[in-house]
Structures are given as C-alpha cells and as structure tokens.
Symmetry: C2
Subunit: 476 residues, 2 copies
C-alpha cells in the first residue's frame, strides 16, 4: 500500500506541473466542488494558511497595523473613479446584477481588490492631520475571473490580506511601502524558508493605478519565478480621484498619500514548489500544522501505544505533535507522513523502548537519528530549528545556483532555453525592449533589485546604454 501511494506522485523532473497537482491532491490540501475555477481549502491546506496568517498578522501588528473589514461588493461607479485601476481590473471581475428578487439599479462587482472601497471609506473617515496615518489591513477573499486555474497559483477566488494605508506625506507613504515589503521578505525567509529577491517592478509590470510597485520574487524548483508579495505606493493619485483630503496643522486642505500591499494563498503554492520532492510535500516547521508525527512500531505489543502517548504528551509542550494509531502498516504511515510534509517522524517500537531510545527521521533530508528518550523534548525542539534553518539554506543554494548572468543577447537566449532560473541582465529602461524580450523568449522582467550590480554598460536586448540591472525569468 505504502509504495503504491508514493508511486502515484509523478516525478518532479519528469513533469513538474503534474507533480505539483499530484502533490496538492495527495497531501490533501485542496478539494473540489461543482463551482468551476474555485477551490476548496481542506483542513491540511487551511491549517497552513492559519499558521501563515497568525504569524504574519503578529508581524503586521508590531508595525502598528490595525485590522478592519470592508464590504465584499463595490458599486460600478465607485470602481470607475480611478481610470488606470478600472482598466486593469474591469475585464476580470464578477458582477452582481440582482439582489433578492429584483434587478439592481447599479451593478456591483465582487471585490477583486479594495483600493476603491478604502478610498471611499477614508474620504469619509479622515478630516484632519490628527486622523493620520491610517494603517489598516483586512484578511478576506477576492474574486478575479481567471480563465485557467491551478490550485493556489491561480483561481477565481483566493484568500489574502490587503493592507491599505493613508499618510500625510509622500515620504511617509514610501517608507511604509518599503517597510511592508521588508516584512514580507523577512517572513518568507524566516517562516516559509523561502529566499526572495526584493526590488521594484518596471512601469509595464506595476499595479494598475500605482506610482511604484515593489515585489518579492522567489525561484521555484523548476527554475520558474513566482511573484510572492507586492507593495504599492500610490502617491496621491487615488486621493485625487476619490477626493481624500485632510486639514493640515496650518488648516490647509491636502491630499493624503496612500499605499497598499498584499500576499495570498499563493504562498502555499510557493512552499510546495520550493521545498517539495518526489515523496510529496515538505513543510518548514513554522508552518507545519503537525510538526512531529509519532509512529508506533508493532503497536499491538504491550506498552507501545502507551509509550507513544507518553512521548506525545511530553512533546506537546514544545511542538505540534500527533500519534498515528490507525491500523495502517508502519510503511504506509511513513509514506503518508512524507506526502503530507511533516517535518519530523518519531519511530518508537518495543526494541526502542527496551533501549530507552527512539528514532527521529527528518523529512527534509531523510536523515535518521537515534536519540535517548530522556532528553526528547530538547532533541526535537533543536531538530525543528535546525530543519527550519537548513530548508532555507537548501532553497537559497538552489536559487543561487540557478541564477545566471547574461551579458549579451546570445547568452540570454541560451540561458532561457537551457538553464531554467533567474537571469540577471542590464536593461535600457525602455518598455519596447521588455516587450521584445518577452515575445522572443517568454521571459519577463521580475524586478529591478534593490541590490544593483553593473554587469555591463549596455542593454542586453538593444545594446543602447543600460540604466538598470534587472532579474528576468519565466514566471507563474
């Protein structure tokens, strides 16, 4: 049975897309209903989101963020006030046209994002400089009418948080935009064990209505990039469109400066694609709903289940731990632990009990460690920290060894075709070059990283003087 279940996962190198779908299904993260393009987050999937949410929310609140909740539906006239924004979103929203038994006078769209609602709210709620800054966030779901969908990566509805802030000055808004990008980057590295590149999006790739968009970009195991979080500075563009003004200390009316920033359940897709292997999911301990699974060996022998329960009780003080007491074979249980990405497996059988030992098995590298039962709490808790750190280092090593430099067009084309990964290259700053590169190779600008390097003096595409070093890549 155990082997059969493991075999059902397609090999990662053979067909990454199919491996991804298999892993999502076998790890029991999502389910289906009759609602096309929408997914069900099952307990194993939702519990990961809960851990992301609680840890990220704590980091938000440490920077002064307050949570709120705004309406699900947006009147069409409200959406239309900011021209770029409505053009960006109108083609992909769902429209409510009937409420109860009657047709609405004005149709309402299901929020694809809530800039317009926050503006409308701030317009009513902000009057004086004393009301600033507003640093609000909401946890909710949004709807975008995608044609092709894939669990976590692209679906018609997804869960996310959206922060929306209003400030007295442009400087403060820019500072908050960068601050939240840093919160995301730090969270991805420290909690999800995913290293990211921080940088600015080009004009072409920035958010509809933003002055500047910043992004964190992660590299998946297959060498494709995943935009993992964005933070936008709106300047006073939205404030002007929605008339969000405040009376300053000198009693002059001024426009506020706004930001927004968000991450989504897409992060779960990133965890799968950065860390997973041919045995299934690998969860970093900090987002593993079950961190330790105790598997009793020869569990019908006297004293085995009792010992397993005793260890579980002890370990519950330092970790999220369970005992698998089902009547499946140990081999099946091992495979299931691996499939579900549980960071540490504890094996305990009659011989172990005799020797006052048990075996710890690491999901990240398969290593088996025999330890004394006396000191198990300490052993497990140290091991979880080690795994968390090692998973980040492994992901970083993979990312670094799949980041290439292209100094000219031939090199660029060769890398895109033969070496999946990030490509660092110089760029002239023209949208035309960006579009040519995309059309020729499928690679897009991921970001202009904060850490600039001077790789050459000319644009990798047109040969004109270069302005920026850019990360390129094929992306999800």
């Amino acid at each position: 049975m155990a082997d059969k279940k493991v075999e059902a996962i397609t090999s990662r190198d053979e067909d990454f897309a199919k491996w991804y779908t298999d892993t999502v299904v076998k790890a029991d993260l999502t389910g289906y209903t009759s609602v096309k393009g929408f997914m069900v987050l099952k307990p194993a999937g939702y519990a990961i989101w809960e851990l992301i949410q609680s840890q990220l929310d704590k980091r938000f609140k440490e920077t002064g963020v307050e949570n709120v909740y705004l309406p699900l539906l947006i009147p069409e006239s409200l959406l239309q006030k900011e021209k770029d924004h409505v053009e960006g979103f109108a083609p992909e929203v769902a429209w409510v046209t009937h409420g109860g038994l009657s047709e609405l006078q004005e149709r309402l769209c299901v929020r694809p994002t809530s800039e317009t609602l926050f503006c409308d709210f701030y317009q009513k709620d902000i009057t004086s400089y004393r009301d600033l800054p507003k640093v609000y966030n909401q946890w909710c779901s949004v709807v975008r009418w995608e044609k092709e969908t894939r669990p976590f990566l692209r679906s018609r509805e997804f869960l996310w948080q959206e922060g929306h802030t209003a400030h007295a000055t442009a400087e403060e808004a820019e500072e908050r935009t960068i601050q939240m990008l840093n919160v995301y980057a730090d969270f991805c590295e420290q909690v999800l064990a995913i290293p990211v590149v921080k940088g600015q999006k080009t004009e072409k790739e920035k958010f509809a209505g933003a002055v500047s968009t910043y992004t964190i970009e992660a590299l998946m195991h297959d060498g494709k990039a995943l935009q993992s979080g964005t933070s936008h500075n709106f300047g006073d563009g939205f404030a002007k469109a929605y008339n969000v003004q405040y009376a300053d200390k000198d009693n002059q009316l001024k426009y506020v400066h706004q930001t927004s920033w968000g991450v989504t359940t897409r992060l779960i897709g990133a965890i799968i694609m950065v860390h997973g292997d041919d045995n299934g999911l690998k969860l970093p301990p900090l987002v593993a709903p079950t961190q330790v699974m105790i598997v009793p060996i020869m569990q019908k022998k006297e004293g085995v289940l009792e010992k397993a329960d005793e260890l579980c009780e002890r370990l519950s003080k330092v970790a999220r731990v369970k005992v698998d007491k089902t009547d499946k074979s140990p081999g099946f249980k091992f495979a299931e632990c691996e499939m579900r990405g549980i960071p540490v497996r504890v094996e305990v059988g009659p011989r172990d009990i005799e020797n006052n030992e048990c075996v710890l098995v690491r999901r990240d590298n398969g290593e088996k460690i025999t330890v004394s039962m006396d000191n198990l709490e300490q052993e497990v808790s140290t091991l979880l920290e080690t795994i968390q750190k090692d998973m980040l280092e492994t992901a970083r090593a993979h990312r670094d060894s799949h980041t290439y430099v292209a100094k000219n067009w031939d090199e660029f084309v060769d890398i895109v075709n033969n070496k999946p990964g990030f490509i660092k290259a110089m760029w002239c700053g023209e949208t035309e070059c960006e579009e040519n590169i995309k059309a020729e190779t499928g690679a897009t600008t991921r970001c202009m990283p904060f850490e600039q390097e001077n790789l050459s003096d000319v644009c990798v595409c047109c040969g004109k003087p270069a302005k920026k070093m850019v990360y390129f890549g094929r992306a999800y």
Copy 2:
C-alpha cells in the same frame, strides 16, 4: 469637551434604538462607505470580533473541529436541490450573472450560507465509514439582501462562522448539534458575560431544511430578545437531496446525517445591548481589545508620563493595556474610555506617585479603588476577573427580573404591553396559535427551553391542552 461628547449619546431609556446607533458610532465600531446596506468594521469593532473568533475557535478545536474554506459563489442548480432550503433563501440572495466581460451560462449566488456547498463537497469527499465524522467549520462572510439594515443586527453582509458536520448515525448528529449549542451557551456566559436560554425552535421558526433547530436566546436591556446562535440537525434530508453516501462496515451504502451551526457579528450587537449604558459601551474584559487604559493626570509634570509608561510595561504582562498620552484633558479621556467600554481605567498623577498609589476605576459600576502601586499587577488582574463575573451576574439579574410568567391570555397581553421581557407560557403546539399570538401582540416563540416547567395545563392562547412551555418575546 468631555461632557459634550457624552451628551451626544441619546439616553437609553428615552430612545433605545437611537441610543444603540449613537453608541456604535461613538465607540467607533463601524463606519460607512457608498455600498448601501453594507457596513465597515473599524479597528475597535473588528478587534472585538478577533477576540470572539480566537476564543471560540479554540473551544471548537477542543471538540475536534477542523477549519476549511469553501467557495464564495454557489451555482443556482446546486442551491435548488433541497426544496425547503432554496425556498428559504432564494428571495434574499445576491446573484452574479457576469464574469469578466461575458454573461455566465448559469448564474451564481453569493453564499447566504453554505449547506449546499458542503453537501456537494462531502458528496465527493466521503466514500467510506472511515471518512466519518467530518467536523468542519469555516470563518467567512455571507450576503443576504436585507431591506432594512442596522449595524451588527442586520446587514446585507455579515461575518460569521458556519460549522458543517457529517456523521454515520442519527444519534451522533443529534449529539453534535447539542454539543455545539452548549459550546455557544458556555461561550456567551463565560466570555461575553451574557446569560442565555437554551432550547428548541418550533416547527415554524426552524431553519429551512432542518429536522430540528436549537437556539440560544438572550435578553437585551430593553426587554427584547436576540437569537444569538443556532445549531441545526438536518437528519439525512440534505444527504438524500445531494446524494451524500458512505459505505458502512458491512459494505452497505448509507446516507450521512448532517448538522450545521453558526454565530455571527450579531454577538457584538448583543454585547452592546446587554451591557451598555448612557455613557456608552461596556466591554466584558475577555473581549475588550484594550482592558486597561492608563490616564496620566497633570501629565506635563516631571515623572508622570514616565510612571505611566512604567505601569503600562508592568501591566502588559497581565492585561491588554495602553496609556492615553494625547493632549486631551483628563475629563475628556475619562469620557472616551467610558464610551469605548474599556473595563478598567487607571488614574495616576503627581500626588498618587508621591503616595505610591493609583486609582482604579471600574467601567461596569463606576467604583473607584485606591491601591498601592507595589501590587498593581495582582490588583488589576483580580479586578478584571471580578468585573467579568459581576457583568454576567448583573445581566443575569436583569434577565431574571424581566422574565414573566403568563398563565392566561389577559396576563400575556398585559405583560407584552407593559413589561418588556421574556414571557414564559404554556402552548398547545399548534402553528396556528403561534401565528395568532404574533399577529395580536408582536411576540414570537423564542424557544421551547430544555428546562421545561409545568406552569398550567392549557395553552395560553387557545385553552386546549398544553404540550410545551415556551419562551415568548418581541425580538430583534
């Protein structure tokens, strides 16, 4: 300034409805946008919901509940499979008819509740007795196209949790239905300090599609009842409509038995209407985002703000505490603390510092207590527990002194007209009598309480033999 702000709240006895709205606005719980019938939960309001959510979620998980997330939209054909259910909800749902730029082949309703989706999901997810029970819950928002709306009590969108379970047997389903009602009742009493009557809804008042609906009913300060949480046993009705079957141990296909149960942001309305007074909100400590506000007196004097900060630092170990350092007058700050319902105010000024004392002021009864600073953590933490307990007792005393017995129709009419509160009376069990009572007096059956009493042998309305003792009341 302080008095002015307090005066702005209409007196509770003069106009309870206006008092309610004033309190919601002055305590800064909700805000407005241009979306008619929808409300904004502002930080002070949303933080109460977060405290409700985290404490209730913990209680759920202790009973084995797992959280999931199901789609926001429901295809019309799916909604229509259970006849009673669709009749109950169709008149009040919002319909999505367009996705992106094209009209949908089938319209989708924004979930008013998710029984149909859970059935659809369980139909795909359950195959064997080994898959049972499923004890799932989701935290989300739902939409119901109400005509008249009031913050927290009735709005076109509200936040809630909806639990949906599937079981092998009818007994297990009934047990879970009652178990969750008890979780709600216990939560309301212990956390919200609101005593509730537990009982069963009559046929007329039960949920669309349910075999039986259980409810907790609370009494507001004005003597009106508020249905505060419900738990439904569906039997196998939904399972038959949606074909949710499992193979039992004997390999026979059987229908599952289902339940659902929910509470909403309406609970915040209950907190306001049970505990509030003419100075504003009164929050039970366990759901107070700020439990203690330190108000420095003569804060410009040397050492006052430093001492306030020091006390705040110390108290932060036992409570959610803040210092109000704004340049408003102490009187204004006191009024604001009261308006926002903060359970304990700590006053500390130069003379207090000299005497190594400070003054604790209880929001619930206005009592002032001078205590030594030495033992402040213990004093405050004990005081918060006392307030929590006293608020429940005060609410219980009010509820009990506003619960009346009507033995005949004259008594019933007299009570409805002159003594707002619960009315206990005997009932024959006929819907016709229930409808007559409602038409004549505006009072509805709130529940048939689990704790039955034999008040008389005949129905209070028709005089025929009585079957049940019922709680009646005018309700929100």
